[in-house]
């Protein structure tokens, strides 16, 4: 992983997310660091994503320009790898299983309840950047369906009516494993 991460970490004194313009400005430093290294593009993109949490399109454009590559080529790389995201990601990634077992046992209802509670669609992140809602296919816990995975923790037999409680528990860290920051 990149070394001098601290030198341009986001604002140290508060949690204010960077604006996209600020991200673009910081990109220039990232580009300088990786531009002349062979195969430096993907590490540069990873660095940017780890700093900003995601890769907004202007950032991708700025990195492409910095590497003297076309925007379409670099966006092709970003959209090829699933570990890159062009949309903000929340502190907690919620993935609702829609595999067959979970689906027939109410996974769909759980998803609807989450959408309603969080006010976002699949793939979106809440404005406070706490939660990103996504769907998945089978986490290997079909016996406990329906399941929801939040970061690295599997939550079993989730009930649509008790979604609020689950989210509060996750946010307040009552569930120790769910608290782990996303890598």
């Amino acid at each position: 992983m990149p070394k001098s991460l601290d030198s341009f970490a986001p604002c140290a004194c508060c949690d204010r997310p960077l604006t996209e313009e600020e991200m673009v400005t910081r990109c220039h430093e990232i580009v300088q660091e990786y531009k002349d290294k062979p195969g430096g593009l993907i590490p540069a993109l990873q660095m940017a994503q780890s700093l900003f949490g995601y890769l907004p399109k202007p950032v991708v454009k700025a990195i492409a320009d910095g590497f003297g590559k076309s925007y379409s080529e670099v966006s092709g790389v970003v959209s090829f790898y699933s570990f890159f995201s062009t949309r903000p990601r929340g502190k907690f990634l919620i993935r609702v299983c829609l595999g067959t077992a979970c689906y027939v046992r109410g996974g769909k209802d759980v998803l609807e309840a989450l959408k309603k509670k969080l006010g976002v669609e699949v793939g979106e992140t809440t404005p406070d950047r706490n939660f990103t809602l996504d769907v998945g296919r089978c986490f290997g816990a079909c016996g406990m369906a329906p399941v929801v995975m939040i970061n690295d923790t599997v939550h079993q037999r989730v009930k649509p009516g008790r979604i609020g409680e689950l989210l509060t528990r996750v946010l307040t860290g009552e569930n120790p494993t769910a608290e782990r920051e996303r890598a």
Binding site: S70, Y71, S72, E73, S75, S79, F80
Partner: protein, 589 residues
């Protein structure tokens, strides 16, 4: 040398040759889709699979080099079956309706299905969701017809060094297109249409003006005139089955009359006019540099290729002041037709519709630039590609091949041989030198048949120098000057040249740039398929056209002399500037 056997035929070919190349050299046709002549093979489509004795699997012939004693069967039952399966799979995901498709007659996928004897589709695949992108003035992209062969990617990024199109996403979701699958207008595409020229199917085509032109022709009271670019006469015949390099100037003229155009004119006329305007501009820049010590005026770049103008505006704004301010011949023609000629026939600019036939899709973009409105209305109203004109001729029922040879109308149809060679790389430079050298020295350009041999041909970047001696008194500042020129075609070559100039300064006085490989004869709107052999033949036809003209130099064109006498005054006069010149601006998508 390597010895091998293909379909029982012994062959000897140089080491490093691919099976495909070896087979083609022996007259054996292996079908291909992703393969693009002159580019490294991708090996992606698997349509070129052949059987190699001793190999466990079938091999992609486009990317497998020959080996000593190799025994290849290109059309064995196994190879045919595999190929058929590949194409069946492509067709099962393909969402198109051949009878209404632009590529109906020329589609490679359709031809492949035919040659493989595919009669039904064993599986129904899920189709990509159709999104038609008509965001740009030049092109229409339909992702549902795309077979992901990536030829457009290779040509856009490797040949043109633009890189507007790349695979986005992965797996079934892969789409070939601009960044994050947005529309083309969102990225710095120069509209050259080379992607449309190489696409095997109907996934990228020019934005058609055919209907609009029919409509104009049927509008009562409207005077509809047509201008044809020099490159059309050397390629249009291909659309009617003639071999590349057939000259069809006379038949084309006859066809245009039968379509109902009220004036059949020639972009060549304004190509000659361009030479006088641009040559005078060059001499002015030389004078200001050499006499007044002005800086930054040289080199001067040619300005007739609108894809190049887009390229400079997007990627090399520092060179914009060096591009000749002359409008392209297409735009000059529109401006002249709607002013000078309009007043001759007693019409207003509004009563005249100017249609162009161009080998180029970027000309569609150029025609709608807001600054190209010298007479108060757009200089040029509609732009047809060579392919669109052929379609109109077919639609009209005219039997092209049996048409007589006719002459273009006067005065805007009169031109010199120098105008013809605007169609190919090196030609604009040669045409300019024929005039400039003679103005300065009073003597003819000292080359056999007036051809500046070092800049003829398909080399990517060409250069030459011309020593100027015994000048006329008024040009004494040019005495002894070694005029250095360069020529580049294809934007990849152009980028290499510009990077060199950027880093090392320019030894050149005058540089010709053409967007497309080979120049306009290889334009994005030309009959498909254009490879180097086709380019070479079209260029030969253009030079023959030039040599067959009684007048070979732009300044000797009597109609051009007349327009200066009657209307424009001198080259670079105030009227000339108002009608025939323009300015460039840096831009972002």
């Amino acid at each position: 040398m390597i010895n091998l056997t293909i379909n029982g035929k012994p062959l000897t070919v140089p080491e490093g040759t691919t099976i495909l190349e070896a087979a083609r050299s022996a007259g054996i046709a292996i079908p291909t889709l992703c393969y693009l002549e002159g580019r490294p093979p991708l090996g992606a489509c698997r349509v070129c699979l052949v059987e190699v004795e001793g190999a466990r699997t079938l091999m992609a012939s486009c990317s497998t080099p020959v080996a000593e004693n190799m025994i290849v069967r290109t059309h064995s039952a196994r190879a045919r079956a595999a190929r058929r399966r590949v194409v069946e799979l492509l067709l099962s995901e393909h969402d198109g309706n051949c009878p209404t498709c632009d590529r109906n007659r020329t589609c490679e996928l359709r031809a492949l299905a035919d040659s493989l004897g595919i009669e039904r589709l064993p599986f129904e695949g899920s189709k990509a969701r159709r999104r038609v992108d008509s965001s740009t003035p030049a092109l229409v992209r339909d992702n549902a017809k795309c077979i992901k062969c990536r030829r457009c990617v290779a040509v856009c990024s490797e040949v043109q060094s633009v890189g507007a199109l790349f695979p986005q996403n992965r797996g079934f979701d892969t789409l070939i297109g601009p960044a994050f699958t947005q529309d083309l207008e969102g990225v710095a595409c120069v509209q050259c249409g080379q992607c449309a020229a190489v696409c095997p199917v109907g996934a990228i085509v020019e934005k058609s003006h055919v209907e609009a032109v029919w409509k104009a022709l049927e509008t009562p009271g409207q005077v509809v005139v047509i201008q044809t670019a020099p490159a059309i006469r050397a390629s249009l015949g291909e659309e009617f089955g003639l071999p590349p390099g057939s000259r069809v100037t006379g038949k084309m003229t006859a066809a245009l009359r039968r379509l109902g155009f009220h004036g059949v004119f020639d972009t060549n006329f304004t190509a000659d006019l361009t030479i006088l305007e641009e040559g005078t501009e060059l001499l002015g820049r030389l004078r200001r540099t050499l006499v007044d010590g002005a800086k930054g005026l040289l080199p001067m770049f040619t300005s007739c290729s609108p894809g190049w103008i887009n390229f400079a505006e997007y990627y090399y704004p520092q060179f914009l002041p060096n591009i000749s301010t002359c409008k392209s011949p297409q735009q000059m023609f529109g401006a002249i037709a709607k002013t000078y000629w309009a007043s001759k026939i007693g019409k207003s600019p509004q009563q005249i519709t100017v249609v162009s036939v161009m080998p180029c899709t970027a000309k569609k973009f150029e025609a709608q630039r807001p600054e190209m409105t010298a007479s108060g209305v757009p200089d040029v109203d509609f732009v047809l590609t060579t392919r669109e004109l052929a379609r109109m001729i077919r639609e009209s029922g005219v039997d092209f091949l049996s048409l007589p040879e006719e002459e273009m109308d006067v005065p805007l149809g009169i031109s010199s041989g120098a105008a013809d060679i605007f169609a190919n790389t090196g030609g604009v430079m040669e045409a300019a030198l024929r005039t400039v050298y003679e103005i300065v020295t009073g003597r003819e350009l000292p080359f056999e048949k007036l051809h500046v041999t070092p800049i003829v041909g398909l080399a990517g970047i060409k250069e030459a120098s011309l020593s100027i001696r015994n000048v006329k008194p008024e040009w004494s500042f040019l005495e002894g000057v070694e005029l250095k020129i360069a020529v580049s075609h294809g934007l990849g070559n152009t980028r290499r040249l510009l990077e060199h100039l950027k880093n090392n300064g320019s030894p050149y006085h005058f540089i010709e740039i053409m967007t497309c490989p080979g120049g306009c004869i290889g334009g994005g709107g030309q009959p498909r398929f254009t490879n180097d052999e086709v380019r070479t033949r079209r260029i030969a036809a253009i030079y023959a056209e030039d040599e067959g003209k009684p007048i070979r130099k732009s300044h000797e064109n009597p109609a051009v002399q007349q327009i200066y006498r009657e209307y424009l005054g001198k080259p670079n006069s105030e009227t000339a500037h108002r009608l025939l010149h323009t300015h460039y601006h840096p831009k972002q998508p």
